[in-house]
Amino acid sequence: MKIFQIALGILAAIGGFVDIGDLVFNVAAGATFGYQLLWVVVIGVVGIIVYSEMCGRVAAVSGKAVFDAVRERVGFKAGLAALVSAQVVNLMTLTAEIGGLAICLQLLSGLPYRLLILIAGVGLLIVVWFVAFDWIERIFGYGGLCMLVFAVAAVKLHPAWGAVGHGFVPHLDRESPVLYAYFAVGLLGAAMTPYEVYFYSSGGVEERWGPKDLGLNKVNAMIGYGLGGFLSFALMIVGGALFLGQGIEPEFLGTIALGAEVPLGQIGLLLGLVGILFAVSGAAIDTLFSGAYNLAQFLGWEWGRYRHPRGAPKFTVTWLVLLVLALGVVMTGVDPVQLTEYAVIFSAVALPLTYIPIFLVANDRTYMREYTNGRIANALGILYLVVIMVIAVTAIPLMILTNVGQN
């Protein structure tokens, strides 16, 4: 079934592009600047499509995922730096997603938060251990489509469509330029979070993509991340149409769900919560796998969810340890929403360490034969490397100057 074949892209997009970080940043950007930052989402979507297609192509042609390439192309020291930064950000994101999952379950059930953290952890363990990779993609990718309720909510809130259209035209904000820049960097960082490409490329290897699947890779990247971008637009429009005028600053997942409830009633609320539940669960699985993929690929271990746990024991132990660590951290009571904001900004700093090796390998004929980057892919690739460098350099200064987007 063709529709099932694009599940990897949809899971990568729902779990990666619309994770807790994007939920928070997109709605908060809308609540702060209305529709003015929609153009930044477009830039982020095109960037992640360009690089996902590239690393999916590398996976299909060479059978190598991102950290295989990192290890082979940038040397041990730079590779180790990339690995450490990737693992730290992955663990922060995984922790935030598990916390988000528990909050979502709490908003649906009213049960105690800490109990739900344990339930979320056990649920993730069961899913990752017992459910086949392609079914994980389908369940969480398509379950996350409930998030489309935010697109309906955005329309029902009757935004000023002229202003929405204006938001797609790149421009600066003269009143609060530093805060505007912080949100722009955060949105780009969230859109191009490295774990999305780790998961996507490793997923391509898991699915045994070959050169015959290059078309599928393109479709996956474009439809999956295009859908993620569409949902980001919807979330930002909800933030602008509902929260900006009332001076509401979204700081909780419940506030985001309220964005679907106000225009659509109880059904909107439930679909919104279920959509968020699948999205953050998908993101938790993406980051859990990504952490194990990265370490196993960098150290040359056997890896892959398609193998039986005994066929890739170190890989299995790695994701189990990551799950336990993340559960331990979230149990301390750390706020998942705040944590995700830090994770997004720190991941922005780590972007070059992920994307430069992908670009180099995608141009290397010894890996790619006749499938190296074409002119358009190279032009866009270089353009985005410049964007990534700017984001990496400015992310932390902007975070300090704006007190994490507070003023």
Binding site: L108, G247, F252, A257, L258, L273, I400, N407
Partner: protein, 143 residues
């Protein structure tokens, strides 16, 4: 074992610690800017509480969602109340800071009512106007 000095830390670790320390700073003296920021926070909590109460009045919400979300908002308002009641202030704004603290406490108590009666449309309806007034009062203090 060799003693570990600050100079042994990698620049990345030092930078990360510095960033977390700077970005996480939320204590100290309440100045005019902090007052404005906290007043906007209280206004936001009151507005959102009003929106939530309106959904309960219309029977659009669910018991657990209202119970949990109202508690989150109430706790945040309560934390603001405590912080504003205790922290030292810049000269000339002490009375506004304490006023905001009381207002945050009032918002917290109203949201607590919503938390305790998540399906009672009469309670919710009775809270809408006070929360709206609180949001207006906090917005005034933010000016």
């Amino acid at each position: 074992m060799r003693n570990r000095h600050a100079s042994d830390l990698t620049p990345g670790v030092v930078l990360a610690l510095l960033v977390l320390a700077l970005a996480g700073c939320n204590g100290g003296t309440v100045d005019r800017h902090a007052l404005q920021r906290d007043a906007e926070n209280v206004a936001s909590l009151a507005s959102e509480g009003g929106l939530l109460a309106n959904e309960v009045t219309k029977d659009h919400s669910t018991k657990y969602f209202v119970r949990v979300h109202a508690k989150e908002l109430s706790d945040k308002a309560s934390n603001l109340q405590d912080a504003l009641a205790e922290r030292p202030t810049s000269p000339g704004i002490t009375s506004d800071v304490r006023k905001l603290s009381k207002l945050a406490g009032k918002v917290s108590r109203e949201l607590e009512q919503l938390h305790l009666h998540p399906t009672d449309s009469n309670v919710a309806a009775s809270l809408e106007q006070p929360l709206s007034d609180d949001a207006d009062a906090a917005s005034e203090l933010a000016k």
